[in-house]
């Protein structure tokens, strides 16, 4: 099977033609550098993504704190992780980099805060 990708590593945006057999990359063409080849192999065999959302905060100057993952996860795990994040709640004060959920769904990465949320007097 042949599939085309547009490389997203740099603004050159190379059009990559990839030959795939049983989930494995047989050949890559159209890339101008090695990073493109590496990226497309990952994209075919194990696409990973980071994503951002927010977690409820109790007693904070904002109702939520923005979060992301400490490292990318398999693309298929985005919605299961999102469901875990929805159940979580943080307590102000929250600091940038704080771990909100550690080792989420045993994927080896944490959900971490991406901003400070100060506590307000209640």
């Amino acid at each position: 099977m042949k599939r085309s990708y547009t490389c997203v590593i740099c603004p050159n945006s190379c059009f990559l033609d990839v030959e795939i057999r049983e989930g494995n990359v047989i050949s890559v063409s159209g890339n101008q550098c090695g990073r493109g080849r590496e990226w497309v192999i990952g994209e075919v065999t194990d696409p990973r993504r980071n994503f951002a959302t927010s977690v409820k905060v109790r007693g904070g100057e904002m109702e939520t704190v923005s979060v992301r993952l400490s490292s990318p996860i398999p693309r298929a795990m985005i919605f299961p992780v999102m469901a875990e994040i929805r159940k979580a709640e943080a307590k102000a004060p929250v600091h940038i980099g704080d771990v909100i959920i550690s080792n989420v769904l045993s994927l080896g990465c944490d959900v971490i805060a991406t901003r400070d949320v100060a506590a307000v007097g209640m």
Binding site: V8, S13, F51, A52, S54, T64, I96, T114, R115
Partner: protein, 410 residues
């Protein structure tokens, strides 16, 4: 009060300008921000992908903002939040209103870093009813990411700008059904990585050469009619399709905010729709500078910040009494170039040009010409209208130029 530099706007451009001016030895600086906290639009851009050039890693918007704020605070740079600038005079007196009342600041240099605004429904004239539920993408983003309010349950997105693509993903993660992104042009308007990671990953369809031709609903949006358009972007009769939704999200372009520039009488460029500047990023009034999205709309916060750092170099010289070279040579965007900054040069210094290609090209050549003679050129492997191009042209190539300079891409 008096200051060497007044910086208006506490987003990436304003913060980067403040830090860089301080780094050049300018100590009498005040930065004014109308929101309650610094960071500008980065505060609501919680997705990652910021900072790959400036910080050499992929950060989220709030993380990027906090790095810049930290740099400014470490240097002890004075700033006021919840402070709105009302006017600037050509004698460089900035009038602002804040919690402590009115401020009048006389400055040697005034730096505009006020960002841009989203085009809204009025700018694109969609026919139909006027129900609630029509939001710009940035407004929907602020509702969700800053105020914890979900603005809709079922949406269509008009326009494929980056914020629209990012909101397609954000809404989907929050359980909103996104029926599709409809783009009137024949190419997506956002960065390629966003088309892949925000639409393809979530099986959200992108319909090119389509537009919304009617919005239905009396109190609240109940649905839209979408039509295909022809080569002249005119809707084709008989191609109408109906979508049920309670919201229309608009991502139909950004325009520099000229609310302070226009009453001041600054020259505005017809291409960028921001103010006209010379190679020092100085506007048509001496001592007033502009950088970031209020000068021209950037793709990346990094580019806005780096531009503000270039501004700081020339503004620091101006503050220290250097008159800066007069810039009498006009720069004309030629074939293949939709817009270009700066608009005037001296011919005596290296110039950093930033420009937007007018169409997609592969293996193109960027040429700087004067009187039909090519004075500088560079090969560009791929040009896209949605990716800004930049080029630093050395003064040696510009020293013999007297007439207008034309920049082309073909």
């Amino acid at each position: 009060m008096e200051r060497d530099a007044v910086i208006i706007g506490g987003g990436p451009a304003g913060l980067a300008a403040a830090v860089a001016l301080h780094g050049k030895g300018i100590r009498s600086i005040i930065l004014l921000e109308r929101e309650a906290s610094l960071g500008g639009i980065l505060r609501q851009c919680i997705h990652d992908g910021f900072g790959i050039d400036r910080f050499k890693e992929s950060l989220t918007g709030p993380e990027y903002a906090s790095r810049l704020i930290h740099e400014a605070e470490e240097r002890g740079i004075e700033y006021r939040t919840s402070t709105t600038v009302l006017s600037i005079s050509s004698e460089r007196v900035v009038t602002a209103a804040g919690a402590d009342g009115m401020l009048h600041i006389h400055a040697k240099a005034v730096i505009l870093a006020v960002g841009c605004r989203e085009r809204d429904r009025g700018a694109i004239a969609i026919p139909g009813e006027r129900p609630a539920g029509v939001f710009t993408a940035g407004t929907a983003q602020a509702y969700i990411n800053l105020y914890n309010r979900l603005p809709c349950h079922e949406a269509v997105i008009l326009g494929s700008g980056d914020i629209g693509l990012i909101m397609a993903r954000r809404l989907t993660l929050e359980g909103v059904k996104v029926h599709g992104v409809f783009e009137i042009q024949d190419h997506p308007n956002g960065l390629e990585r966003n088309t892949i990671q925000c639409l393809d990953d979530y099986s959200i369809p992108l319909y090119l050469r389509h537009t919304i031709t009617d919005i239905h609903g009396s109190g609240r949006v109940e649905g839209v009619t979408v039509s295909k358009v022809d080569d002249r972007l005119v809707p084709i009769k008989g191609t109408e399709r109906e979508y049920r939704c309670d919201s229309v999200i608009l991502s139909v372009g950004l325009v520099p905010d000229n609310a302070l520039a226009l009453p001041l009488g600054l020259d505005v460029d017809g291409r960028t729709r921001g103010v006209s500047v010379d190679e020092n990023l100085m506007t048509s009034i001496p001592g007033i500078f502009s950088a970031g999205n209020c000068l021209h709309v950037h793709d990346l916060a990094d580019d806005a910040a780096l531009e503000a750092e270039r501004l700081a170099s020339s503004a620091a010289r101006w503050i220290n009494g250097d008159l800066l070279d007069s810039c009498a040579i006009p720069v004309i965007p030629g074939c293949g170039i939709a817009s270009i900054v700066p608009m005037r040069i001296s011919g005596k210094s290296d110039v950093f040009f930033t420009m937007r290609p007018s169409c997609a090209l592969r293996n193109a050549v960027l040429r700087v010409t004067a009187g039909g003679r090519t004075v500088w050129k560079k090969r560009i492997s791929r040009a896209l209208p949605q990716n800004m191009l930049s080029a630093e042209v050395p003064k040696e190539s510009l020293s013999s130029v007297s007439g207008p300079l034309e920049v082309t891409l073909s």
